[in-house]
């Protein structure tokens, strides 16, 4: 059951000209949010822009005793709403609704968890990584961006003891090329059939390649899909994805309720690409 809070901006740390980590005081949501869930944030109090925007919960913020005090989002400036959030200041108040959506299911040892993130698709993995570490599951983050300066927040994962496999398209940090190239090589080099569960979030072409690699290497794979959303509650039917249900039939399903996390084999990738 989601709650709506008028959350105070605690900090808005600019990582670059486009990216920021926006921290919000929202203990009611933070204490209930599971890895992979999202919140709907209203970028302004008025009717311009009108709708809220969906964001994966990035970090759960805690006080020294470990009690959740709020959450952060990883914001990339792409339009009017995200530009307003990029320029939000501490003390501002933003309506924040959540937690929403179907979370990731963290896998248990001896299966390893390999997270694959592209750009702002890093967002859902900080909480997943935390949860995996708590369960004692060995975890690796494959994380790609255009250039080294766009690989953010790797310290969050370093602190948790997550192995990092970085890739940049310009070769300025980590492997040169797409992160899916690094993943493919690692899957091929896997020692003696170690079981791997893949988790992916990023641009649709990246996730599609991860989904194909998952099939080829016989790994289960969960993807977190980002769709245009009107309400986040199942009311508007705008965020649909063609997906396969339990009976094997393909339907438009609402990614806010059935997702945002989907089994990659249940997603009609060819249609997902066509809509963007």
């Amino acid at each position: 059951m989601p709650v709506d809070v008028l959350a105070e901006v605690v900090a808005n740390t600019h990582l670059s000209d486009d990216y920021s980590v926006l921290a919000l005081a929202a203990p009611e949501i933070a204490s209930k949010a599971a890895p992979g869930q999202f919140v709907m944030i209203k970028p302004s109090a008025g009717i311009e822009p009108l709708l809220r925007r969906p964001f994966s919960v990035f970090e759960i913020l805690r006080d020294p005793s470990g009690t959740p005090t709020g959450l952060s989002i990883l914001n990339k400036r792409v339009g009017v709403g995200t530009a307003l959030l990029y320029s939000a200041r501490p003390g501002d108040r933003l309506a924040c609704l959540g937690p929403l959506g179907k979370p990731f299911t963290p896998v248990d040892a001896p299966t390893e968890a390999w997270m694959v993130a592209g750009g702002v698709g890093l967002a859902p993995f900080a909480t997943l990584a935390e949860s995996l570490v708590q369960r004692g599951t060995s975890a690796t983050l494959f994380y790609g961006a255009r250039r080294g300066a766009d690989l953010f927040c790797t310290d969050v994962f370093d602190r948790l003891g997550i192995r990092l496999a970085l890739a940049t398209e310009d070769g300025s940090r980590g492997d040169a090329g797409f992160v899916t190239g690094s993943l493919e090589r690692a899957l091929a080099a896997r020692a003696g059939g170690a079981a791997v569960h893949l988790y992916a979030c990023g641009p649709t072409p990246m996730m599609r390649v991860v989904a194909e690699l998952a099939v080829r290497h016989q790994c289960p794979c969960d993807v977190s899909l980002e769709q245009v959303m009107g309400c986040g509650m199942g009311g508007c039917y705008s965020c649909v994805v063609r997906a396969r249900n339990g009976s094997g039939e393909w339907h438009f399903v609402r990614s806010c309720l059935a997702g945002p996390v989907f089994d990659s084999r249940d997603v009609a990738w060819e249609e997902l690409g066509a809509s963007h």
Binding site: D4, L50, V228, G230, C236, Y237, S238, F252, A274, S275
Partner: protein, 317 residues
């Protein structure tokens, strides 16, 4: 001293013809799923009524995404009436709505007069449907609805056909995409409608100039939100001048003050759609805002507000 404040004492009850409502705030069709999506978040019985998503006889796929796009103070949608079909609704959704004591109005769709009548007949036989809203105004699909809603004879024929198969209150939902909405309200009244609801969305379009592609997969969509409110208020006012049956108003209502505009213009109740996307907890805020207004203006009953527009000459202060 009375234990309750003036705001608690006001009477919010209203009616859409024979259907009594505890308050005038109704969730608009297409903006509230089948209602069950919100059942764990809000008290469904606290709304005046809910209008569930439009239903045909059969399941419908709807349009491919992108299905919505934001525009200044509004949004376009072209969902394409994705739906589970009336029989699955009755079997799988209605029982929960009944258990939650929701006042359920079903938005009835059809590709033919016969389909409207058949869907209406099935819903009339079901337990827990309070009224039927006839969708003759969806701008986003070719093969149904709007073809009837844009023709006076078509509007008359759909309403008459449904009137013959049901004793439930019927309320056609009118499109604003015609020259004179009021003439359609009158056609509906003459055919036996208990009320009319208006407006559905305005047919509209948005283009990505960088790619020169339409922003919606369906090219065109329906505009809703605050951007359309003044036009919708005018249309409600015009309809109320022409018909005696109750008018249910909607179009960009974001708060109690917006709702009051419609009611003063003549709406017996209002529907709220887009605002529910922005704030699913809006319903109690609307009720509180209306109570406060009525207490402040010493109005005891909502019904005293309906059509109370003051057109007396303005006096110079």
């Amino acid at each position: 001293m009375p234990a309750t404040s003036a705001a608690d004492a006001v009477d919010l009850a209203t009616a859409i013809g024979p259907l009594k409502l505890r308050n005038p705030f109704i969730a608009a069709s297409g903006c509230f799923g089948y209602g069950v999506e919100y059942a764990d978040t809000i008290d469904l019985s606290s709304l005046g009524a809910i209008v569930v998503k439009g239903l045909f006889l059969k399941e419908r796929e709807g349009h491919p995404p992108p299905r919505i796009v934001e525009t200044p103070a509004g949004m376009l949608n072209a969902i394409g009436l994705q739906g589970i079909g009336v029989r699955r609704f009755v079997a799988e959704r209605l029982p929960e709505l009944r258990a939650r004591r929701a006042v359920v109005i079903v938005n009835v769709c059809g590709s033919s007069i016969e389909e409207y009548a058949e869907v209406s007949r099935i819903l009339s036989d079901a337990d827990g449907v309070a009224a039927l809203e006839l969708n003759i105004s969806c701008p986003n699909i070719k093969e149904g609805g709007i073809q009837f809603g844009c023709s006076l004879a078509g509007t008359h024929d759909v309403v008459s056909a449904v009137r013959k198969v049901t004793r439930l209150p019927i309320m056609p939902k009118l499109t604003p995409n015609v020259t004179s909405v009021a003439s359609f309200a009158r056609a509906a009244e003459e055919a036996g409608a208990d009320a009319v609801s208006l407006v559905n969305t305005f047919l509209a379009m948005a283009i990505d100039v960088e790619t020169r592609r339409p922003k919606l997969s369906n090219v065109m969509g329906g505009l809703s939100g605050p951007a359309i409110r003044p036009i919708a208020v005018r249309m409600v006012y015009e309809c109320k001048q022409l018909v005696k049956i109750p008018v249910v108003g909607m179009g960009g209502i974001m708060n109690a003050s917006d709702a009051l505009e419609f009611m003063i213009a003549g709406a017996s109740a209002v529907q709220v759609g887009t605002a529910n996307f922005v704030d699913p907890f809006i319903w109690h805020k609307l009720v509180d805002g209306l109570r406060d207004y009525m207490a402040r203006h010493r109005i005891a009953r909502v019904l005293d507000l309906v059509g109370s527009l003051d057109l007396s000459p303005r006096t110079v202060a």
